[in-house]
């Protein structure tokens, strides 16, 4: 077996060296009858690299890859061009096969990357500080809510109707444990999210208001108004960014008054990967640092006075504080943070701004052409690269038919909000720098045929 370096002779010698008669003597603490007498039944035996690769290729071949179709999906996972050097660099063994940097003297590569990553995220979000990553946007969102309840000592989280329904579901799952109250709702198809309705629901028990920016329908809420209203009652504003490329163009939530900004970093460097692994981004005001979840990398010096980096403020964390920790998170998304950071470094702030403008322009072109299809209307007044369209027929059926024609035309609102009649005919459509005129034309033509 190609991954096992011990030879039969090694095994015999080593057993003799430790005074064991057989390898099963080493399993003597396993009670009688529980040690299996052969390989687990019902599973195949070992296979060569050729055989395994063939099998996995066959499975991969049954999927329609985004690159093989006109592609317009978003809703929390976005397809962008990833420069070739990103994937090359993250596969360097010193990054790929390292552990969490618990021994900083021989992990300065990972640690310096995390310090750069934290700085990039903080500057992108407009927050004072950021952590070294969470699992993904949805879990980062819950962690932010949990942090807000610790800071305010209040137990009610008010989620805006525009928050991704999967993020809402995660928060509700977790609130079952903690007893916190989650207030949430279903969005309506108005051109702009209504801030007043949300503001009216803020009360003196509200720990935080959670608002997605741009929201699930691609609309852009007025964060400033909500931040003021929330903070006037002692609540925190948590902004959730599922498409960080948008922040190349629209104002950073931290600059608009958000106390905590979390997000999904998958757009930069990570790729679609059928939903994971992704990258949770987490930034906040500096005064909240000791309530933050997750790892933090900090600058220091070594015994010879050289600048270096270490994991710090670990007294918040589970391996030190155990049941008093701010979170149970241990492993995070280190390698995805590296990919994000490399992609961000290749772009730079100006590059990100231009990439964002290209995304917006491609979305404008997409909306313009699709709006010419009879019965198709765009809901949004303002949008970045994602919009909600209404169709004269149920969105899910239409998208299934488009998929049969080789077009991946968007995400049906029915999939995100099953059973909500008012949203059945809605679809989310996203464009990016990878969207070509030909893709838009094919989408429009096929959509017109499916709808006719």
């Amino acid at each position: 077996m190609r991954y096992l370096p011990l030879t039969q002779a090694d095994r015999t010698d080593m057993l003799a060296a430790i005074g064991a008669g057989s390898v099963d003597d080493l399993f003597c603490d396993v009670p009688d009858g529980l040690l299996l007498d052969g390989p687990v039944q019902g599973l195949p035996a070992h296979a060569s690299e050729i055989t395994v690769e063939r099998h996995m290729r066959r499975l991969a071949g049954k999927n329609l890859a985004a690159s093989d179709a006109p592609f317009f999906l978003g809703a929390g996972a976005y397809r962008h061009h990833i420069p070739a050097s990103v994937d090359h660099l993250i596969q360097r063994g010193e990054f790929l096969t390292a552990y969490t940097p618990y021994q900083p003297e021989i992990a300065q590569g990972t640690l310096q990357v995390l310090f750069e990553f934290q700085t990039q995220v903080a500057r992108l979000f407009g927050t004072d500080i950021a952590n070294a990553s969470m699992y993904d946007g949805s879990t980062a969102c819950w962690e932010a809510i949990a942090m807000a309840t610790r800071i305010t000592r209040r137990g009610r989280a008010l989620l805006s109707c525009g928050l991704h329904p999967h993020y809402v579901s995660v928060a509700k799952s977790m609130a079952r444990f903690t007893g916190d109250t989650i207030a949430s709702g279903t969005p309506d198809l108005s051109p702009q999210p209504g801030e007043n309705e949300l503001i009216a629901q803020i009360d003196d028990q509200t720990a935080c208001v959670v608002i997605q920016y741009p929201d699930i329908l691609g609309r852009i809420p007025d964060l400033t108004a909500i931040a003021e209203a929330a903070q006037a009652t002692g609540a925190l504003l948590i902004a959730v960014v599922t498409e960080p490329v948008a922040l190349g163009m629209i104002e950073a939530p931290g600059n608009l008054g958000a106390d905590i900004v979390v997000g999904e970093g998958q757009s930069l460097g990570v790729g679609l990967q059928f939903g994971g692994p992704y990258l949770g981004l987490f930034g906040c005001r500096e005064k909240f640092v000791r309530q933050m979840p997750g790892r933090l990398c900090g600058q220091t010096v070594d015994a010879a006075g050289k600048r270096g980096f270490v994991l710090t403020l670990s007294t918040r964390e589970q391996h030190i504080r155990r049941e008093k920790a701010t979170s149970n998170i241990c492993t995070n998304s280190g390698l995805c943070a590296l990919a994000f950071s490399i992609h961000m470094t290749l772009l730079g702030g100006e590059g990100l701004a231009r990439l964002a403008r290209i995304n917006h322009a491609r979305a404008q072109a997409t909306v313009k052409r699709l709006s010419q299809v009879p019965g198709v209307e765009c809901v949004n007044s303002a949008y970045f690269n994602e919009v909600t369209l209404t169709l004269p027929k149920p969105g899910r059926e239409v998208l299934a038919k488009l998929a049969e024609r080789g077009v991946l035309g968007g995400v049906a609102l029915e999939r995100l909000y099953p059973g909500v009649d008012e949203l059945r005919n809605g679809i989310l459509v996203t464009a990016s720098e990878l969207t070509e005129d030909e893709d838009i034309e094919t989408f429009a033509t096929e959509l017109a045929e499916v709808l006719s």
Partner: protein
Amino acid sequence: MSAPNPSGWQPTMGDADYADEGFVTASGDRGLLLEEALSFEIGSAEKCGVDLIEPEHEPADALAPFLRKHAPDLPGLTEPEAVRHYSRLSRLNYGIDLGPFPLGSCTMKHNPRLNEKVARLPGFADVHPLQPTATVRGALEAMQELAHWLIELTGMAGVALSPKAGAHGELCGLLCIKAAHDDAGEMRDVILVPESAHGTNPATAAFAGYKVESIPATADGRVDLAALKEKLGPHVAGVMITNPNTCGLFERDMKAISDAVHAVGGYVYCDGANFNAIVGKVRPGDLGVDAMHINLHKTFSTPHGGGGPGSGPVVLSEALCPYGPLPFTERTDDGLVHLVEEDNADEFGHTKAFGRMTAFHGQMGMFTRALTYMLSHGADGLKQVAEDAVLNANYVLRQCEDLLEAPFGKAGPCMHEALFSDTNLPEGYSTLDIAKGLIDEGFHPMTVYFPLVVKGAMLVEPTETESRIGLDRFIASLRHVATRALNGDESLHAAPVLAPRRRLDETLAARKPVLVWKGEDSG
């Protein structure tokens, strides 16, 4: 001890004085020992490593009120500069590709490159989680196949694939337990956790709203069954047990523990971090376990990547299966694999799910890697994995126990990790010195000061992917460093002196946290 390799050749220090401490270079680099500035110190706003076209038109007027006043203040690098920056940084890291990484409980084994290749096939890597199901049948089949392997290897009834890492899997397991008790109308608020548990166990239980009560260990490093039984009652929701435990020992009483917990209506959560020791040899389902997370990034070789991503599927017993989270896959009689989500959960009879743990379907990129690894090893190979992992650990234990105190060494063999303590080192010498001395030897240290139940713990997990030659080299170095400590070699307190950095000032880092770069004035 045998020669370090069959030919007898071994590296030497040569003329040690040659590496003159006082030698100063203008660059700060020393030959291939390279220093690297921060990207912010070498980049600039004008530089970009991506060629981007000029956008075809101006932003829509409706967007005007929302526009940023300034682009994010982040300098860019061109591609050659970026490749060099990250390549140079990588050289400051130790990885499993360079040598043993014997972190106990972390299972740093070789990461096969076929796994990387497969995960990058466009049919897996470039697929959106919300594509119509008909366009992702192969991805769903891969998930179903992985689920099958996990269920068969553990002897459990089902598996929730979506948890993102081990600690997230622990939450998932406790949520299932909570949901089961809620469903039965029972209010239970205590989770029992052994003293020797990973920090994530009590943290998870507390994060999940339970009170944590600690169970003491016996003198032979195992859960005290009598003490556990005394704590059981109608208020106990369950126990969280690690097996093999964090002392590297198999919990002999596991079945009796499960029976006792079940007798009072509680559930048994098993932390599967140490599954590598028993994969293919023992099925947790046979031990009475109700829920167990499996770290795909440990036992099934997906890379740790400097701290993640992980992947923590949770296998569930018959009793807990109805409560597993959405989404999951299920195969119908016609052979098709379906994705069960909110809109079709009822159709599949899954009416008690508590919702989602995460936005999408879990760590697909890790699923494909882990499945590739399982198919490569097969059932026979995985059994050999556990046997070789346990053999390698016992070999380290027996080759070093004359120099380093092995608290449970006399009692019998260990499982996949060898545990030492610093109790026999002279005054002023500790585990930290051994760890830092190993760095100068060119090895990553073992896990230190964990488990907490052993003073100055050193937990060595070589894994099955170390060769005999590699083990002998590591053992020789560990013995050398231990001997330095035993002989009172004070120079050991300065270690490491040969690594990219000397000991770092962690107190300074925590007292005046500098978490982001603030320009020249950030020091």
